[in-house]
Each structure stands twice: as C-alpha cells, then as structure tokens.
Symmetry: C2
Subunit: 219 residues, 2 copies
Amino acid sequence: MRARFTLADIQQHALAIVDRDGLAGLTMRSLAASLQTGAMTLYNYVDSREALEELVVDAVSALVEIPEPTDDWLADTRAVATALWRTFRAHPAAIPLVLTRRTSSRASLAPAEALAAALARGGMDGVDLFVAFRTVSAFVMGIAQNELAGPLSREDDATSAAQRVATLAPDALPTLTKIAPVGATFTGHEFERGLTIVLNGLVHTPRPPASTGQASGLS
Amino acid sequence: MRARFTLADIQQHALAIVDRDGLAGLTMRSLAASLQTGAMTLYNYVDSREALEELVVDAVSALVEIPEPTDDWLADTRAVATALWRTFRAHPAAIPLVLTRRTSSRASLAPAEALAAALARGGMDGVDLFVAFRTVSAFVMGIAQNELAGPLSREDDATSAAQRVATLAPDALPTLTKIAPVGATFTGHEFERGLTIVLNGLVHTPRPPASTGQASGLS
DNA sequence: ACCTGAACACCGTTCAAGT
DNA sequence: ACCTGAACACCGTTCAAGT
C-alpha cells in the first residue's frame, strides 16, 4: 500500500495539537486519532516519540520567515533574530521542545545559517564569527526561556510575578521585588532592547588575537 | 508517625539520580527506591511529578556559589553569571529542567537577585534595570541551551557537528559548514567571550528616555 | 513497503486503609 | 499528620499478522 501520509501532514497535525492542547496533549494516540489512524501507523513515519518531537521543532523552524539579505549586516542580524523570536512567541507551547530537542534538519538550520551569514557579512570569521553566532543565538533562545519559565516571567493566573516574589521573601530579594512590577507593565519590548544591547556589544568588543589554531579574521 | 524525610533528602536523591541516570532515570518509583520506600510515600512531600522536577531545579540553584559583592559592579555581574554557568555545566542532565520548569523558591531566586543587585549597583534602575537583567539572564540560559541542543552543540558520539551539518546540505549551509569545525575545536571559551560582548553592550548602549510609566533612572 | 490490532512494560496518580 | 500497597488510567513501543 502506498504511503497515506507525508511527513508534512504529521508535522502539521502534531503542531496543531501542541498549539491547541499543549505539549501534554500530544501523544502517539492523540496524533494518530487526529490523522484518523491507529497509533502504530505513526511508526511507519517516525522512529519514536523523541523523533516526533524533533519533527515538531522542525515544523516551528520552518515557519520562521527568513528575511532577504540587504547591504546592512547589522539590520539583517536583527531581522533574523526578530523573525525567530516572533515565531517562537506564536507557538509558546512548543518552546520547551525548541529549547530542549536537538535537530539538524534543513528546516531548523536554515534560520541559523541566515544568522551566521549576516554576521559573516559584518566581516567576522573563524572564532570571532563562532562566538558572535553563539552569543546572538543564545540571547534569542534565552529570551524564549525567560518568557516561558524565567524568574520574572508573566503568569497565567492572576498572581503577578511581583506578588509572588514579594510574598516569598520581600527582604531577602529587594532588587527583584523592585523590578518585578516593571516586568509586569513593560511588556514586549525587552527583546528589542536586549537585542540592541547584544548587537552594540558585538560592535564595541575588540577581537582578541587568535589564541587557538583558528584564524581570528580581519579587523 | 514523624516525617521520615526532609525535602532536602528528596532533592539530593533526585538530583543524584538525574546526574547518574539522566532525566529519564528519575521516576517516582526510582526515587522511592533510592530512599528505600514505596512510591506513594513521596506524595506526602511532593504534590506531583512536576513539583518534584521543580525541586530538582531548586537543588541545582542552591549549588550556585554566589560571590560576595565588591565595589566593581561589572566584575560582580560577570562573577554571578559565571557561577550560574559553572553550576549548570556540572549538572548537564538537569539543564532541560532548568530551562523548562518555573520555580519561585528562595533557592532559585537567590542567584537572580544577586545578578539584579549587581546591575543595580551599576546605576541602573526601572526599565533599564529590567532590560539589563533580562538580557544577561537570557544569555546565560541561552548558552546552556546552545550547549545542550543548539545548532552547533557538541556531540555524544563520534559524528561531530561539522560532519553532521556538512552531510546534510553543504551548499545550502555554507556559513554553518565553515563555523562548525571551529565549534568543535574552540571549546569552553564561548561563554566568557560572549559574556564580554553582552557586558560591553550594556556599557555602550545609551538608555532611551522613559517611554512607559516606569522611571528610567539616572544616566 | 506500509498498515494495524493486541499486548506488554512502565509510569503517574487515586483510593482506601493503616499508624 | 504521615505511611503504604493495590489498583487504575494512560502512554510508548514490541510483536505478529496482515496488504
């Protein structure tokens, strides 16, 4: 019998379930039901639950709208990072998978390549390029983590981060207690402003002479 | 009957299991066995598996050696961030939990408070302090993510990230293909150098005038 | 090659009964 | 209040049989 499904079918249904019912809602059985088959059918397409989750990460990555390169590498770097962040925000229930599952599919590496390429256009290479890539990439993933489960993340229920922190130990955590209400109010711009900080750092950090075997590039 | 265990007992055994057997090795039953009881006994101390995982995150957070404040806020910021990173690296199997589980215990907030306090000593407050805190925090968590599951992370088995990337699509991913071998060689210094970039960015980024209701502080 | 139901091992948790 | 075994619902996956 011919293949009834494509990998894309499976990815779409799986991501839809995660978006609708959360991560816990995605099981082999629930996905199979969504595709109107038995659970075992899925194993013709996917090795394991783990592999299925990687497929979901790929599906999310494929939704990143990678911007066309311009002649402004800094703006390009910002654009790719922003595109990633926008996609993650649109699928918050999938963020734990994005943070946690390793993929090396074309789909998931395409945004990474775009980011690295933009930085390379800035004149970096070798170790410098690697460090810059890691730094920007870490910032983007870390902001996703902060949003999801960070110390001052927003709440689902009524209790704000401010209240939670204050209730816990108002005296032991004076600075957090002071910041917490800011986090609750000032929402949605941490990413842009934080990214500006990181990119400014990139521009203002002198590149040390190559210490390993790798060339440090120009500048 | 008096309580046979303390929460600290449970945390220690749970973290030990995660360190030894990985995250999948930690189950209610395996933890109970480690404590020489039945699985149900654990529910006298912990509400659910989810709560147990938060307890593991607390246990890891408690291991962070928070440095004493000095008169150099930048050095202090660096020291707290480095202490966090060192602790995460020492318990790699727990990183998925650290990235994913939300805690608001004293233990987990103490390093966050130390980080925020160091930045506050740098003269930031209000929105600026919030943004700075989020940015440094995101970088630290993101580096942990990169190490664990990022695009150029190191491998358990023989196949290097370089090979993996190259095999997949050498032409479509030229920049990553070029960087990949650097990641394999240049190991352990991305954090320091990336942190320098972020901190330089902090110092070199002008603070915009307050746009929300929050005061933007001095400078 | 792909499909699929039955069955198995395992896991979190409820229940009910103990002290 | 804390302990605990039996039992239940659920989940990933193996097996064996089909086309």
